[in-house]
Symmetry: none
DNA sequence: CGCACACTGAAAAAATCTTTTCATGACAGT
DNA sequence: ACTGTCATGAAAAGATTTTTTCAGTGTGCG
């Protein structure tokens, strides 16, 4: 196909000589603010150029396109190419791996997840959550499902070092009521609920909310039903070339939050970490002596 | 106009919670490769998303647009804005964030870690480990440190579904000897040991090796001392703009391994997952009856 | 001046796109 | 099990866009 390799702009330029007066006028209009000016309907661009619609049809056919829709399809492709993903998706990852190795496919998927998640993530939300988590007066409760429990634990372990008043709810829901019993207004319940949303988590969230607790949810693009109860929601892209979902991006956000919280109260945290160091030392000593 | 100031993407995200299944599907399709995917006719985008055209109309109206043409006009404006502003192209991460937001700095760091880790990772090692983990005759033992315990748990939880003979060693080292006692030659001990290498893990690894177990280690670029005892080592880049190390890439490798193992024995795994589904169902039933 | 030819846009026709209507099916609550 | 509600897409109706037709206009040339 002669048209395929060249840009529409090239085609217009190369045909400029054979264009009639009205067509030239149209071409000028198209080239001005190219390629966006060609995005609308034939009626629109005809009006913008001050020519009739038949003129548009005649010109695009003269340029070698089948008709206006064909012309526009080419333009769309160009727009896509112009806007397309700036993160070099096919950057040589593991250089000694064949392109289809699972590691590479996974890497592509994760990058894509990361990009999409970040695009859809409001930094204001992130900052608000970080501020809430930094408030030491609020008790923090972490809970996850069967798979996401490990993420809840990871988050909890770090926050426990950084600040007081943190708790990890076990995966077993039978112990949850006791925690809810102790929740005060302003406390935070951080829920991880992905894919197979667990009905019990909705119940937990409802109960917590009734106690005045605020709810923060990490969920997937399809959104857990508990989302309705949440003050803040992180919608994470979890697609992976696998039968399982990917938690990589969720972990990414968790780590970023950890840093944000820690950073906002660094002096205090530093003290706590020193103390913790000392405690570890003592434990080790105990063992040696014992 | 309320819609005018926000991007279409924002509007979609903010309404995501109230969208129905088909609408979410459509929203996903639109957001994927946004905003180019919304350039075509309503028929085209409905087809691409696998929904009907009425669904498209209903959704855009739900989002606050007057109709599809109105929706598309907004999209065109955005495309125009994006194209005419080349700087916007370069930070399509969290597009509403200043370049120095922690999320962006973290994203950069993670991408870098991923790239470096994959460059230094031999796919042959990966494949060998996947093969070892797929061998159901070998018992699998997972163990992690204080922070990495969650990763060990995550790995364990998945492998437990995929295959029999898996065990998670608690963070508390006092129970370890019993596990070692039961290790047979050929069994696998998967160790997560990052940064503050825990001396006890070396002891564990030594004991396990004496029992004939093979050792697989996830560690950082400085390498845990237990590495010497390992048959296979994953050296992961863990740098982050934070006081803490990042486990994101480690999790990435874990997930890729999960998929590789699962994939190598899919038929068997599928059966197991079905059975598990049934068991969950029963548990739920028990609860309702009880 | 008259004729031939090409250019152009109004208007009609054809094609396509957009919206509305409506029947169906799924599902939650009683 | 029954009922009402909601989501969904097929199909019809409506609106718009695209293409074609065709008549009017202008220009060049004998």
């Amino acid at each position: 196909m002669t048209v395929a390799s060249k840009t529409v702009s090239d085609v217009i330029h190369s045909h400029f000589g054979v264009l009639t007066r009205a067509e030239k006028q149209l071409a000028e209009s198209l080239l001005d603010n190219y390629p966006v000016s060609g995005l609308g309907s034939i009626t629109t661009i005809a009006e913008n150029a001050g020519v009739s619609t038949p003129t548009v049809v005649r010109m695009v056919q003269k340029l070698g396109f089948k008709g206006y829709p064909d012309f526009q399809a080419h333009l769309h492709q160009e727009v896509e190419a112009t806007i397309s993903n700036p993160i070099a998706k096919h950057d040589r990852w593991a250089s000694n791996a064949p392109g289809t190795h699972i590691l590479n496919r996974f890497a592509d998927a994760i990058i894509d997840n990361l990009r999409q998640t970040l695009t859809g993530l409001d930094t204001a939300t992130f900052d608000s959550v970080a501020t809430l988590l930094s408030d030491r007066k609020r008790n923090l409760y972490f809970v996850g499902g069967r798979i996401t429990g490990a993420l809840a634990e990871y988050f909890f372990t770090h926050m426990q070092v950084i600040r007081p008043n943190t708790a990890l709810l076990s995966a077993n829901s039978s112990s949850w009521p006791q925690y809810v019993l102790n929740m005060n207004p302003g406390d935070l319940l951080i829920i991880f609920d992905i894919r197979r949303y667990e009905q019990e988590l909705v119940s937990l969230a409802t109960a917590a909310k009734n106690s005045g607790a605020e709810i923060i949810i990490f969920t997937d693009q399809w959104a857990s039903p508990a989302t309705k109860l949440a003050r803040h929601t992180f919608r994470v892209q979890i697609e992976a070339p696998s039968a399982w979902d990917s938690s990589v991006v969720t972990l990414f956000i968790v780590e970023a939050l950890i840093e944000a919280v820690q950073n906002s109260t660094w002096d205090e945290t530093k003290e706590r970490m020193k103390t913790l160091e000392g405690l570890f030392e003592q434990t080790r000593l105990f063992r040696k002596l014992g």
